[in-house]
């Protein structure tokens, strides 16, 4: 089954099938031993259960003059545009004022914090934060939540004190990708990971959980492509890697843009037929390359839905509903067979 796997794990509790708490490649040298926590969170619910339990958010529920400030990652990435599209649509439906701030470079943590501070000073009723590295927003989140305003953590990295984390778990997606690789390669051979920024939590989660799963469940060797979120670098390094190790037959990419770059790299190395490229995000470009049979598959987690749920959560928290710490959503595998369904969404 490469199909939708979400049914199996409706909550985060039973996802740790591999039993991996320590996902890093080299557990000893981790300074603070921080791992992806959302998936071990006990106060977690699958989003459909949660909606069923708490009921729908209606326009009437929204407090007067309700407004939301959003701090989001990379303005140049289609994924975040989609997610925030969801936020904006939902806000419009509910009559909520919304301001969305992006940082331009994903690693610009100081800018992330600056944006959050500015929005905080402008005084919003609730906030939605999606940082690439959670630490930069931790203090301000604590401060805002302490003052009684909800902070919803929409996907990305998990912020400790946020009211609620909403989204699919990247650790899970990475494991799904690993399982897919093991299945496609029959448990042998070599895979590679095209990483985003090696120092960014988001990229590390997507990389490390994949590697961990592969190493624990198969004899597959793993190579690295440290692409720094840059498709051009990914392209160059893929060609070089294939020169050094022509056995690579599956490449897991930290996002769709890297997938596109990696595919071009394979083209130069004459290896497009011998190597699967699998990425995640399900951006327009990513989906279209799946449709044209270039990238083998991408994982799609319905960013618009996450955006909408985040707005709902803001309202719910503001009116005093008891929302769980983590709300999980689905991740779906998109291949050539089912891509048509997603292109329309």
């Amino acid at each position: 089954g490469c199909g939708t796997q979400s049914e199996e794990r409706k909550t985060g509790e039973n996802t740790s099938s591999s039993g991996s708490k320590e996902a890093s490649r080299d557990g000893d040298s981790i300074i603070t031993g921080y791992t992806w926590m959302a998936e071990n969170e006990t106060d977690a619910m699958y989003y459909k259960d949660y909606e069923e339990k708490l009921g729908e958010v209606t326009k009437e529920m929204v407090p007067k003059d309700f407004s939301i400030g959003v701090v989001s990652m990379a303005s140049s990435n289609d994924y975040w545009i989609n997610l925030n599209q969801g936020v904006k649509e939902r806000c419009q439906e509910l009559g909520i004022e919304v301001a969305v701030e992006y940082v331009e470079g994903p690693t610009d943590y100081e800018q992330t914090l600056t944006n959050a501070e500015t929005l905080y000073n402008a005084g919003y009723s609730a906030y939605i934060f999606s940082p690439e590295n959670e630490t930069c927003l931790e203090e301000i989140t604590r401060k805002i939540v302490g003052e009684g305003y909800p902070v919803i953590n929409a996907y990305c990295c998990e912020i400790n004190d946020a009211t609620c984390f909403i989204g699919s778990l990247d650790s899970e997606t990475a494991r799904m990708a690993a399982d897919l690789a093991i299945e496609l390669l029959d448990g042998k051979g070599t895979v590679a990971v095209a990483e985003g920024d090696v120092a960014a939590k988001l990229a590390q989660t997507r990389t490390n959980y994949f590697i961990d799963r592969i190493e624990k469940n198969s004899d597959i060797k793993v190579e690295e492509i440290p692409a720094q979120w840059n498709p051009t670098t990914a392209r160059t390094m893929t060609t070089d890697l294939l020169t050094a190790n022509p056995d690579v037959s599956f490449i897991w990419c930290n996002n769709d843009d890297l997938g596109l770059g990696v595919y071009e790299g394979l083209r130069e190395a004459n290896a497009i037929d011998d190597c699967y490229v699998v990425s995640m995000d399900g951006t327009k470009a990513g989906l279209s390359s799946v449709a044209s049979g270039e990238v083998y598959a991408t994982y799609w987690n319905n960013p618009k839905l996450i955006g909408r749920l985040s707005v709902d959560a803001c309202v719910r928290a503001a009116v005093g509903q008891d929302i769980p710490r983590v709300v999980t959503t689905d991740v779906e595998l998109v291949t050539k067979e089912n891509v048509e369904d997603y292109l329309e969404k």
Partner: protein, 325 residues
């Protein structure tokens, strides 16, 4: 007769005052800053609130601290692209020691932080001054080296888990970052203006050969410039770890360009020999007000990128036309 003369003298005195003001290198950018502040105060409700102004000061302080250090380097006709990475190394050591040895040994952490800054500065300084390597390339190289060291040391893990006392110190509502920056600015201004070393920075940047022939140890001066930059990186790291309560391996990515931009907006000439501390601080403020203002005005993010550029170009245009040479 007498009266008329006095009148003339007074008028000409005034004229000289205005002329002096117009000839002052800072007039142009102060004008830009004031314009921005006025426009934003009128256009938004939240700009002129104490909290927001405080935030701006705090945000400007990271840029400002680095820009002050960069002013030394640039005035001395150098350039340092490695500041972001140096800052990151300092932040990493600081955070690591704070976490490992606890808040009690904070002096140790700060010491190590400054040692790291000195080391980074010294590496750049020795290679640039004594081996005369081209500075742009050199510091581009050391930027990679420092960043790589950072990755290796932290294994790319964010260092977190600061003592609550540390966190409380920075979040008690006192604008420590701004205070640190202003203190540094005053100190740097005194050094630049009233010490021999300060004058030599300008001399070496203005005409290295003449300075050497006048008996200045130009190599030492150049080297010290980079060390000053290193100390500023260390101070910046303290503020950074204070603001973020953590240190990431990728911290400070791109700070070098911001610092250079702030110093240059403040009138530092990349050819050396010209620049001022006040200018660097104002440059940092302009950049911070700009980013704050665009957010408050809800300019869409694509247009924010564009406007940032437009404002920079407009700022240097105004600067250009408020002074003639």
């Amino acid at each position: 007769m007498m009266e008329r003369k006095n009148y003339q003298a007074a008028a000409s005195g005034q004229a000289i005052g205005i002329k002096k003001l117009l000839n002052n290198r800072l007039t142009g950018i102060v004008l830009v800053l004031i314009c921005m502040i006025v426009v934003l105060s009128l256009a938004t409700d939240s700009f002129l609130t104490p909290n927001n102004l405080l935030s701006i000061m705090n945000q400007a302080s990271l840029k400002g601290i680095l820009a002050i250090g960069m002013t030394f380097v640039i005035v001395g006709a150098g350039i340092d692209l490695s500041v972001g990475a140096s800052m990151s190394i300092c932040a990493m050591f600081l955070a690591d020691f704070l976490v490992k040895y606890g808040f009690e040994k904070i002096w140790l952490a700060v010491l190590v932080c400054f040692l790291a800054g000195t080391a980074c500065g010294l590496i750049n300084g020795l290679l640039a001054a004594y081996l005369k390597l081209p500075e742009f390339l050199l510091t581009m190289g050391t930027m990679s080296i420092f960043r790589g060291f950072d990755y290796v040391y932290t294994n790319c893990q964010t260092i977190r888990g600061m003592d609550p006392r540390w966190i409380n110190f920075w979040n008690a509502g006192i604008p420590w970052p701004a205070i640190f920056m202003m203190a540094l600015a005053v100190a740097a201004w005194l050094v630049i203006k009233y010490t021999k070393y300060g004058r030599y920075v300008f001399a070496v940047g203005g005409n290295e050969n003449a300075s050497r022939l006048s008996g200045i140890n130009t190599k030492k001066i150049k080297c010290v410039n980079y060390m000053v930059m290193g100390w500023c990186c260390a101070l910046c790291a303290i503020v950074y770890v204070g603001r973020m309560s953590s240190a990431e391996a990728a911290a400070g990515d791109g700070f070098e360009l911001t610092a250079i931009a702030a110093a240059a907006i403040g009138g530092a000439s990349l050819a050396g020999g010209r620049g001022s501390i006040a200018g660097a601080v104002i440059g940092a403020l302009i950049l911070s007000v700009l980013s704050n203002g665009l957010t408050l005005l809800r300019v869409s993010s694509y247009y924010q990128t564009m406007f940032t550029g437009v404002i920079i170009v407009v700022a240097i245009l105004i600067d250009r036309f408020t002074q003639k040479d």
